[in-house]
């Protein structure tokens, strides 16, 4: 068990390209599972490869349990890795692949059998333990790779997209099993993933990166409820949070939403957040599941302010892309599915004040974010 600390770490692949990782300061606590999440190309894998010793640091230092490791080769770091394209030994059986790290270290036969048996059972590979790994589908191969990493209780496990080739059922099963095992054995782990559900389900904390720069490190619940800035707000949550302009009205907490031609009133307890900002711009954030969508028409009674341009069924929920009639901007709503709205339907949208997030439009900073 080891804490991992990135101290002012930067990575540049070549003189022509921008920094892949820029001045990263990040702590993965002892026994914690920390997820790195961010858009494609933001530097997640680069960060992990530096921890693994597979890429050099351009600047900074990485500490394992307080000790600098950048001078240590990958083989001397006592870490296990599960990468998306991590290779198994093709000529060995499943069992022998998993046993390999133990055999190399001379663990005795009985203990080896016991530990390999545990891992096989956990991953549902018991019945096929004697098969060659080349006969397996990608998903099953990945389970073997995870088993091989887990079997020898390393100080640190680094996962890069370990579940991305598995189907939903296996994924949900395996993510629960990995995190149960990780928690019970208390192995410090860093997980790189593009899948926020995976990060949320498995991680104690999530670090969000964008263009090589760390944006926020927090528990999944805090990231969802109080994103530090508009980037995190719009990145976390599926479909993404709606962001739209608001204008601060009177002192009673009234905010006008020009695109809907509507006002909302922010309650007393939240008003201080923008009390002093009468004339600067405000960006409102509203999660799609909070946007209220009602059937509407052309008449004065419940007049339409938007039209459904695209409906995406998602099983127990449907997401609707809506074009605002006033200015043709778009919003996304999520309703219980299957819903009755169809493309072309006219609707009336309402914004519930209590569910809004308030951001400074220039800096994008959440006005109610306290660290």
């Amino acid at each position: 068990m080891t804490a991992v600390e990135f101290q002012s770490v930067s990575k540049r692949y070549s003189a022509e390209t921008p920094l892949a990782v820029a001045n990263l300061n990040l702590l993965c606590r002892e026994g914690e599972l920390l997820a790195l999440l961010g858009p494609s190309g933001c530097g997640k894998s680069s960060t992990l490869k530096m921890a693994a010793g597979l890429e050099d640091l351009t600047e900074g230092e990485i500490l394992f349990g307080g000790r600098p490791v950048s001078a240590l080769s990958a083989g001397r770091r006592n870490i296990a890795m599960v990468f998306e394209d991590y290779c198994l030994y093709p000529n060995l059986t499943i069992e022998d692949n998993i046993a390999f790290p133990l055999s190399v270290r001379g663990v005795d036969k009985n203990e080896r059998r016991q530990r390999v048996g545990d891992v096989l059972a956990m991953l549902g590979l018991h019945d096929i333990a004697k098969r060659k790994v080349t006969d397996l589908s990608g998903g099953a191969q990945q389970r073997v790779a995870i088993g091989r990493a887990m079997v020898r209780d390393p100080d640190l496990i680094l996962f890069d997209e370990p579940l991305s080739h598995l189907d939903g059922d296996q994924r949900i099963h395996l993510r629960a099993e990995i995190s149960r095992l990780q928690k019970t054995r208390g192995i410090t782990s860093i997980l790189v993933t593009h899948d926020q559900n995976e990060a949320t389900a498995m991680a104690d904390r999530i670090a969000i990166m964008k263009g090589g720069v760390l944006q926020q490190v927090d528990t999944p619940a805090r990231l969802y409820a109080r994103p530090a800035n508009t980037f995190v707000a719009n990145f976390i949550g599926e479909p993404p949070m709606n962001l739209f302009p608001g204008e601060i009205g009177d002192d009673a907490g009234r905010i006008t939403i020009p695109m809907l031609g509507e006002d909302i009133v922010i309650g007393d307890e939240r008003r201080h957040a923008f009390a002093a900002r009468r004339h600067s711009g405000l960006t409102l954030g509203l999660r799609p599941e909070h946007l209220i969508v009602e059937a509407a028409g052309d008449g004065a009674e419940r007049q339409a302010n938007a039209v459904v341009t695209y409906r995406e069924p998602r099983g127990d929920a449907d997401s609707l892309v809506l074009r605002i009639l006033r200015d043709t901007s778009t919003m996304v709503a999520e309703l219980a599915g299957p819903c009755t709205f169809r493309t072309g339907d006219k609707v009336r949208l309402r914004v519930p004040a209590a569910n809004t997030n308030l951001f400074d439009s220039e800096s994008g900073v959440n006005l109610e974010f306290d660290t």
Partner: protein
């Protein structure tokens, strides 16, 4: 439930597979596949890893020969046609980018292969637009080795989408991207495909992605088509336990048990509970020959209740996964069945709490315990 095409003639338009099977070293990986994809249609091919999705795509592209059966394109048998003559564009799950070509040249390559006297003047602009939609325009001059995983995937996707083929095959095209970009690209790629005249197959292990992008969905499990239908069909009336388990996050709970006839009613009995079937389900229970049955409980059709409640299933909270807008609560019954429930509110729920679970009767499904097929009555 395969469409009954065997006796009828081939479809004049679009892509059609008739009785396609494929065996590798005595293992049958595809069994008697019948499938049609109409011009302009997007068929989502959903199946777990190893189901045969990639093999099916490779057969259509001409990279594998079926052991039996035929492939037709617009009414013409192309089973024996070499890949180069089929004009089928395929995006590979493994990307298969040319390592020595830049992103831009990789995307341009299929056009160059086809163009006799150079590219049409509009080609450059098309490529630029497409790269912009996929958010990789700034990487145009990079080599594949200088890209992240998701950037490679989008380059391969662009190379497939730039073509104007007879059929387009996308094998897990957006699996490596984050939720936000996936959400955006599902919509944008659908709009691109809506304007296209060719059939498209979009393969994915993610059931929800299939529901979102497919005009119809074909569910492929262990080399067999389990069901073909619209997103609503698949979601509301999955044809089997296997299909039900592929769709939904988390998937439907399935409890094995047996049917017991009472006076004027049918009970479903399993080790965790006994329940009198609501009338609609009791009617479908008649379609089940034996006594064995599976009861399907949708995670979002369940509610939690504290205190004594005879009508509720007794459980203990086993794990709680919180996702912001909802949480998945896993409950364990005294005999050890796990039941997952999706709820917006888990306030003051703790591991180890004893709670009752109630079910909405319209969120229950019944399956034959022997065959795993769904039992429905159609009114």
């Amino acid at each position: 439930m395969t469409a009954p095409l065997k006796s009828c003639k081939t479809a004049a338009d679009g892509l059609q597979l008739l009785n396609v099977s494929k065996t590798f070293d005595q293992t049958e990986v595809l069994h008697d596949i019948d499938l049609t994809v109409a011009p302009g249609e997007v068929l989502a091919l959903v199946g777990p890893s190893g189901a045969g999705k990639t093999t099916l795509c490779r057969i259509i592209a001409g990279l594998e020969t079926p052991s039996s059966g035929q492939c037709y394109m617009n009414g013409t048998d192309m089973t024996a046609m070499p890949p180069g003559d089929r004009r089928v564009a395929m995006m590979f799950e493994s990307y298969a980018l040319y390592p020595h070509l830049s992103v831009g040249d990789n995307v341009r390559s299929p056009l160059l292969a086809r163009a006799k006297g150079g590219l049409p003047p509009t080609a450059g602009q098309h490529i630029e637009q497409l790269l912009a939609v996929l958010e990789i325009a700034h990487l145009s001059d990079r080599l594949p080795s200088e890209l992240s995983g998701g950037q490679k995937q989008r380059t391969a996707l662009a190379r497939a989408l730039i073509q104007n083929p007879n059929a387009l095959l996308l094998d897990e095209p957006i699996s490596h991207l984050d939720a936000k970009l996936r959400h955006k690209l599902r919509g944008e790629i659908r709009q691109i495909l809506n304007a296209r005249p060719h059939p498209t197959i979009w393969s994915t292990p993610d059931g929800l992605e299939g529901l979102s992008v497919g005009d119809r969905i074909a569910v492929l499990i262990a080399g067999r088509i389990e069901q073909i239908g619209t997103p609503e069909d698949i979601w509301l009336r999955p044809a089997s336990v296997k299909v039900a388990r592929l769709f939904g996050d988390p998937p439907m709970n399935i409890l094995p048990g047996e049917l017991q006839d009472g006076q004027g009613r049918i009970d479903f009995h399993c080790r965790s509970m006994t329940m009198t079937l609501p009338p609609a389900l009791a009617a479908s229970a008649k379609a089940i020959k034996g006594r064995a049955a599976f009861l399907g409980l949708r995670p979002n059709g369940l509610t939690l209740h504290r205190g004594d409640d005879q009508s509720a299933i007794a459980t203990t909270v086993y794990s709680i996964e919180s996702f912001g807008k909802y949480a998945i609560v896993t409950l364990i019954t005294p005999p050890g069945d796990l039941i997952k429930l999706k709820t917006a509110d888990v306030q003051d729920l703790k591991l180890g709490d004893d709670v009752g679970v109630r079910y909405a009767s319209d969120q229950l499904l019944l399956f034959d315990g022997t065959t795993g097929r769904a039992a429905y009555v159609y009114s």
